[in-house]
Amino acid sequence: MAEEAIKLGGKKKSIFLDKVKALLPDGGNLNLCLTCGACSSGCPATGLEDMDPRKFLRMAALGMDEEITSTPWSWMCTMCQRCVYVCPMKIDIPQLVFNARASWPREERPKGILGSCDMALKHDTCSAMGTPEEDFQFVVEDVLEEYQESQPEFKDMKADVNREGAEFFLNQNSREPVTEPDEMVPLWKILNLVGADWTYGTKGWAAENYCMFLADNESWEHIVRVKAKAVDDLKCKVWLNTE
């Protein structure tokens, strides 16, 4: 046995893991991994890019920052949280993945997600398909009229747009108004049958938020604030999320 402790020189290098720990409450418990593997055994992304949640965390703990911040696996984990749900130490692996996404230079992030985020930033509608306010209103009113005529039982059905004081502000995924507007109607029928006091808004109506997937925190926040303001401006009580 040595008589004196061997001192290793140099300061401890800060690694990516430390940066993420600093961002999370309780450091996201990122130091507590026992490598039990409960996360990986229940993760559908295990095996993609030769990666899994346990391995991702171990590599981060070992300071393999280059690999962690460049593996495409960060975009294949959906951050579904099943790993942290089952983890005995409640380690926030999805947040580690989210911050790995955020470490990519913005222009190098997946083109589809980047494009959808930038598209959503173009209009106050927040539509990732770039649908402007007038187009959305037109589609809703046009389809409503068509159904009021062809299905007389629903001649008094309403699908208001920008009605102040309604209880519910219903959002809408861009997919329906742009590619399959008839699919909006069943929900309208249900809302009308139950007597729900609801409206659409031309601002902030889009349900999707690709800026969140992009891990662009500023844009994500902006999109959410536009939507929240739209609900507040119409004085609605409840933000009703579509299926």
Binding site: A45, M76, T78, K111, G112, R175, I190, T242
Partner: protein
């Protein structure tokens, strides 16, 4: 909300339409809705609604389920991330879950799940149909028009027709 309105008697759904057809349905637990937000209570409400609409005996659980269910791979931006083989590899787990139920339909109360689960079925030669709950609720109320049946299979296309003359 659907469950609330059914319990309050405002949404008078009825599963008689499926009593003799006995078409089988399973349901996806969207991660964002169940595990990440309202937990098992909303998963229970979801099942209450589904059973009221299709009939309890025609509902089949996938395993694992509720907060323990597996992500289908439609969320997190995966649909737009540009890694379709990986996305489908991810989704194999969900596809196997659905196939194990032997259900004819998978109900997907989430746009991302709907797109992914629909794609997984396409990849397997339309092994099951993928529908939103709103479609089935309206079908059970007898108010589902011919142009609102895009995601129904041939087994349900002509059931309880509503204004068939308005078909396009």
């Amino acid at each position: 909300m659907y469950a609330k309105w059914i319990r309050e008697g405002k949404l008078k759904v009825n599963s008689d339409w499926n009593k003799d057809l006995k078409i089988k349905f399973t349901v996806q637990d969207p991660c964002q809705l169940v595990r990440k937000t309202l937990g098992d209570p909303v998963a229970e409400d979801l099942r209450y609604t589904v059973k009221a609409v299709v009939g309890e005996e025609n509902f089949v659980e996938m395993y694992p389920n509720m907060s323990n269910n597996y992500c289908c791979g439609g969320g997190g931006g995966f649909l737009q991330a540009g890694y379709p083989e990986a996305r489908r590899g991810y989704g194999k787990l969900k596809a196997d879950q659905i196939l194990a139920t032997k259900a004819d339909y998978c109900i997907t109360p989430c746009h991302n799940c709907h797109a992914q689960v629909h794609d997984l079925s396409d990849e397997r030669d339309h092994a099951w149909q993928t529908v939103h709950l709103w479609t089935l609720i309206c079908l059970s109320l007898g108010i589902l028009g011919p142009n609102e049946r895009e995601y129904l299979g041939d087994d349900l296309k002509e059931v309880l027709p509503f204004h068939p003359e308005s078909a396009m």
